[in-house]
Symmetry: C2
Subunit: 409 residues, 2 copies
């Protein structure tokens, strides 16, 4: 594959996403390859947030629940996420943190299989998924069973209520076969909950075609919703009627403003709601999703793979065996990031940050580079590997101050 800087410039000029980067406000001189941790700021967001604060809150005050549409903002935002994950409009809820949303969907999914006593989790998943699953297992009196990351279906049997899997691994960028593993679970009568945190907005997901049961995803990575923006949840419509999530708050009630004493769950995905929706965060997210308007998932995937292919080719060409590529090379098994193993990975990441190339470190020895296709360019990728080669060719990554680690996903 052509790997010169001129080739990268040409690839950017020919990209189906050419011009989308202008929708983001990235600092000059920064190559941002950490959008799979915190997405960049879409240019539309500051003005929208300013308006929500100054006008809707400051002037509209309480009346904005109706006049500014706060009361169904969560549903409208869900409707914009739906096409990115193969969901129908009206079937995606947005509101709580990813951990809380995982908890609610996992309890509800396990309740759909009351005669089964096993919850299966993949041990290299993002930690909060395993922590939440262990909390749910303890709460419901289930056995927590770890599967083999290389073959999650191997431990499935008729005792399994739910298989909880992350579609794209946060550390390695490896992607599971969503439809195939869903079918395997259904084959033994189990349900599957998918965590789409590292998929949504960068990798094709078709929950309906895969006949999945439930899914959760965060919105501050490839969806660019801002730090700590709320997570989304999807539940297959066949489960809506029996879906019984445990945090039965007033916004999940069929008639929240009637102030009934008894809880009657709302129809459909609205029963996933609990408390008052986080209006500021939902508004920022709503505005951020504008950057996806008019972009099809095939174009996003094509751009993402073109970027990671170029990164891999340049790493092979320039670094050889100095690093180990831990992300699968097959397209079908690759998310939208490339992870490199190096004994001084933390120092490597810090030295790159000092040069304006922002990736991130994942304990114990992984340097992770995410390719958010809306704003990362082939030129960014070329320059990033230039800097990486320079760091590894010198001693920059071995500075004493890199002995103390700090990292947030």
């Amino acid at each position: 594959m052509p790997t010169s800087r001129a080739d990268a410039v040409t690839a950017d000029e020919r990209s189906p996403l050419r011009g989308r980067r202008d929708l983001f406000d990235l600092p000059d001189g920064v190559v941002y390859l950490d959008g799979n941790s915190l997405g960049a700021l879409p240019r539309s967001v500051p003005d929208r947030v300013r308006r929500v604060v100054a006008q809707e809150w400051g002037v509209g005050l309480i009346s904005s629940w109706n006049s500014a549409g706060w009361v169904d903002l969560a549903r409208r935002v869900g409707d914009r996420i739906a096409p990115l994950v193969g969901a129908a409009p009206g079937d995606v809820h947005v509101g709580d943190s990813t951990s809380v949303t995982l908890f609610k969907t996992l309890v509800a999914a396990c309740r759909l299989r009351p005669d089964r006593r096993v919850l299966v989790v993949e041990p290299t998943t993002f930690p909060t998924d395993a922590y939440v699953a262990s909390g749910v297992a303890r709460l419901l009196g289930l056995e927590l069973r770890w599967c083999d990351p290389a073959d999650p279906a191997a431990v499935l049997d008729e005792d399994v209520a739910v298989l909880s899997l992350t579609h794209v691994d946060f550390r390695t960028g490896a992607m599971y076969d969503l439809a195939g593993l869903t079918a395997a679970a259904h084959g033994v009568g189990a349900l599957v909950q998918w965590d789409l945190c590292h998929s949504t907005g960068a990798v094709p997901v078709d929950l309906t075609a895969a006949d999945a049961d439930a899914a959760v995803g965060c919105t501050y990575k490839y969806l660019n919703g801002g730090p700590g923006s709320p997570a989304f949840a999807w539940v297959h419509p066949r489960h809506h009627g029996a879906w019984d999530q445990p945090v039965t708050g007033w916004f999940g009630h069929a008639h929240p403003f009637e102030m009934d004493r008894e809880f009657t769950p709302a129809d459909g995905i609205t029963r996933m709601a609990s408390g008052t929706p986080p209006v500021l965060a939902l508004s920022a997210l709503d505005s951020a999703l504008d950057a996806f308007d008019g972009v099809g998932m095939p174009a996003l995937r094509e751009a993402s793979l073109s970027l990671s292919d170029l990164f891999l080719a340049l790493v092979d060409e320039r670094l050889g065996s100095a690093v180990e590529v831990v992300t699968p090379r097959e397209h079908a098994r690759r998310g939208s990031q490339v992870s490199l193993r190096h004994p001084d990975a933390y120092g490597v990441v810090q030295a790159l940050v000092a040069r304006g190339v922002v990736g991130d470190f994942r304990t114990p020895d992984v340097a992770r580079f995410g390719f958010a296709p809306l704003y990362v360019t082939h030129t960014d990728v070329h320059d990033a590997v230039d800097h990486l080669a320079a760091v590894l060719g010198g001693e920059e990554h071995r500075r004493p101050e890199y002995a103390v680690r700090n990292a947030v996903t």
Copy 2:
């Protein structure tokens, strides 16, 4: 008590909170008596939010988790709420919605009394409290027992694990004896969870002096955190070690960034955390709390009672028996609102809104007027009752368009 408009002007000039209203951005011509539903916009907030979005997110990007202190923002905000509720610094967590926070604390509180099978709830409480409690009871296999609102202690016995009470009633504004009811529950070995949604920031609360067990409160009413801002939770330090909340997410882990497979709860109140903190909302709330700097709770309470006393005196003087006052007149039993019963309460509230006086309606027949002492003035109160008398003296509240109801707390 002196009730002329000139008296109101004089009372404002002599108020210990004189000048505080200038810290808020209230629209001209609006008398805002709904700050107990959604607090007004503090003038400091727009600039803080703008900076967080444009600089911390847009420029600092992922590094802001450390450089802008996002990682411990929830703790810092909790430390600012602590003195308003009689809590020690380091003992208040902020992060999830009120409903989710109620759920987490209620499950954890019930787990501290594993040999007891009854959860007591007050039936006229804000609905989400009852909904959440019923969900928790079902989840844990407990009996839900309703108490008499006039005497919640009467149903307490040695089967009761937890008594869940709201300090100030959302509809009537009646206030319970926090210390007395806590002592009554402790007398039978039960714990108490207090909902402080309608207390915090307007009514003196001393959780430590009351020897309370756990408390939850929202931050978008008297604390002015903005629409859907996150709730806080407090747990008495004697319970910290055994406190076992069910949503075990990574921010509640002792070492979140070590990415351990097993969950080890953090020490202290931090174990109440679950997911990634909502940075935008926490930043707005942090800024909003500036309006409380240098104000003691005695001054807030004095101003609040002076406002509600004036409102009651004017209602008696001007409206007589046209409305029924449902809020207790004794100071010790009154929160920071006055509620009036009227068969056309919805129309009354709408007619007042049309005149620029914003209160709110609570089904089926209550018009509710909140007195946020930081920005409501005696003159506001005087003008509000003028308008109320004019509405009730005519037919404004009986317009056909007021037949359809919309209301959000």
